[in-house]
């Protein structure tokens, strides 16, 4: 299936990627080629076939809900670009009004 430039722009926005016009054109071509290659899967009859999401099926693994030590706050924040008041700091996402 051939993707349009609009498709590429929509995917990029969903993935929070900012692409240049040149990248848009390049990914339009390359992703279309990969998706076309994947069309070989359409020749299979998959009626009644269950999906496999993990190679080794496991049930939910539960543990006792008991307190355990966690990382010290300075370790958790160490790699952050900006912190304030022992928290990660980001730009405002809501209008102040």
């Amino acid at each position: 299936m051939a993707l349009t430039l609009q498709d590429v722009a929509k995917i990029a926005n969903l993935a929070r990627l900012d692409l240049t016009d040149e990248q848009m054109a390049q990914y339009q071509e390359q992703l279309s080629a990969i998706l076309e290659y994947a069309e070989v899967l359409n020749e299979l009859d998959l009626t009644g076939i269950e999906p496999t999401s993990h190679a080794v099926a496991q049930q939910n693994v539960m543990r006792e809900d008991v307190e355990r030590p966690s990382l010290p706050i300075e370790s958790v924040l160490y790699n952050a670009a900006k912190t304030a008041l022992n928290q990660f700091q980001i730009q405002a996402v809501l209008d102040e009004a």
């Binding site: 993935a15 929070r16 952050a80 996402v93």
Partner: protein, 488 residues
């Protein structure tokens, strides 16, 4: 004694007999890195001071009577595996400067065993690639021919072991990223069964496929490292809570009566004729060692590549959503939050962007069933192929990759042709099998060829012993890369 020439198991014996020390072996490795890694570029970070401290501690432990198998043995770790206090980049600019606050499970295991960590090895960005050329930092060169790639994504680890810059190394294998570089670099590489080794602390690429695997110059070396990292870890909910066998004890070299399956779908048009010949001779060698050769079919093999390139990018697009500049990595400031995130994510390289885009599309509303949903169903068929095959055989023998190492730059403009380098390795990642690649010859350019042995779920003992039997009856593993440059 030239310590760099020793295999891991030879070093272990030498350490145990007191003929050398961990400090001496570590210094020999660090000198070797200085000598050849300017050319090969297998390491992103060399932790020389930490390594010497660990070596001194190991020598002290030995003086106090300890003798555990990896005590004092210098090892390299792929830079996608978290190491406390040591920068871990996953080969990406988006993690430049990231210093993990904890060790991955496998690193904890290494440290507990007394191993020495020499440094962090180069990788394709987030392990996405088959040549290590997608690293945002440096291009690693194949020790057998420096104009060629070492394979990937664990190309740094494979090259380091091949060029005697580590006695063994850890990589990760999501679609073949341990076995394919092992094949290209003429070393042994194991992809364990999914869940055999904890993924805790390993930077995620495709969570249903990722698995840590060891490299060594010999089967015994690879097994010794695997022994230490295998095991249950409650912090990875997909970690299998089953006992770890004594893998080294399983290396008897006896494969009489072993049933070896040869799948016709792996000997196809496009495979290099020298690779095919070498692998067929290796299979005949297994027969002469007492194995029974059985022709089998894995009928859905041709669908594995498109299935993999829908599932792995889909999982990657979700896993890599966390790189938004908030908790780790550099942050670019834009006009608002979303703009900042987009500007920060411009630090991803082209292959990572390609896979995030592909995965986002495969999971997006209106296309989920057509792409991701369909891929999961075909994954069932591929998994069933292996289940059926392992009712008839104990081991499946194939080439590891259709070609030997290709030239640097040869496939960078054509993503699909790069993906084909993994065509023989990625099926088993979609199933619950395990696989090992080991040297089985050289082509007319002197480049190593790899034999892949695939085993059923948790049958690592079987494939390692088969590999061991083959290795003991051949001399490929005794050929050493960069031999001419080694000081005597």
């Amino acid at each position: 004694m030239d310590l760099t020439k020793l295999t891991l198991t030879e070093l272990r014996d030498t350490l145990r007999s007191g003929e050398t020390t961990s400090v001496a072996a570590t210094e020999a490795m660090l000198d070797r890195i200085v000598e050849v890694d300017n050319d090969i570029k297998s390491y992103l970070t060399i932790t020389d001071e930490l390594a010497l401290e660990q070596a001194q501690a190991a020598d002290k432990r030995r003086e106090q009577g300890e003798s555990s198998p990896l005590l004092g043995v210098p090892i390299a770790v792929k830079d996608i595996i978290s190491t406390i206090g040591v920068q871990t980049t996953a080969g990406s600019k988006i993690l430049e400067g990231f210093v993990p606050p904890y060790d991955a499970f496998v690193v904890q295991q290494l440290k507990e065993a007394g191993a020495v960590i020499l440094g962090k090895t180069n990788t394709d960005e987030f392990a996405m690639g088959s040549s290590t050329e997608n690293s945002a930092y440096v291009v690693t060169r194949n020790p057998w021919d420096q104009t060629r790639v070492p394979g990937g994504s664990s190309g740094g680890s494979a090259a380091a072991v091949s060029a005697q810059m580590a006695y063994a190394a850890l990589g990760t294998d999501t679609g073949g990223s341990v076995r394919q570089p092992a094949s290209f670099c003429g070393v042994v590489g194991l992809r364990p069964t999914y869940g055999r080794v904890s993924r805790w602390g390993v930077i995620a690429f495709a969570s249903s496929l990722d698995q840590v695997g060891p490299f060594g110059r010999t089967v015994a070396d690879t097994t010794a490292l695997f022994q230490v990292v295998a095991g249950h870890d409650p912090r990875d909910s997909t970690s299998l809570n089953v006992p770890v066998p004594d893998y080294e004890a399983a290396l008897t070299g006896d494969i009489k009566g072993l049933r070896v399956g040869v799948p016709k779908e792996y000997f196809i048009e496009g495979i290099d004729s020298e690779v095919e010949t070498a692998v067929r001779i290796a299979i005949a060698q297994l027969e002469s060692l007492g194995a029974e050769i059985v022709e089998i079919s894995l009928p859905h093999t041709q669908y594995a590549l498109p299935v993999y390139y829908l599932i792995a990018p889909a999982e990657a697009s979700a896993n890599l959503a966390r790189y938004d500049g908030t908790r780790f990595g550099p942050r670019a400031e834009g006009k608002d939050m979303i703009d900042s995130v987009k500007k920060t994510r411009a630090l991803f390289g082209p292959e990572v962007i390609r896979r995030i885009m592909l995965g986002t599309y495969a999971l997006s509303a209106g296309y989920y069933d057509e792409y991701y949903g369909r891929a999961l169903k075909v994954r069932t068929l591929i998994k069933n192929d292996f289940i059926t095959a392992f009712e008839k055989v104990d081991v499946i023998a194939t080439p590891t990759s259709p070609t030997t190492a290709f030239k640097i730059g040869a496939k960078t403009d054509d993503p699909l042709s790069m993906y084909l380098a993994d065509i023989f390795t990625l099926s088993l990642n979609l199933s619950a099998s395990c696989g090992v690649s080991l040297p089985c010859g050289f082509d007319n350019k002197g480049l190593p060829i790899g034999l892949q042995l695939i085993g059923n779920t948790l049958q690592e003992e079987t494939i390692l012993n088969t590999a061991f039997a083959y290795e003991q009856s051949t001399s490929w593993h005794q050929q050493i890369a960069l031999n001419a440059q080694t000081s005597g």
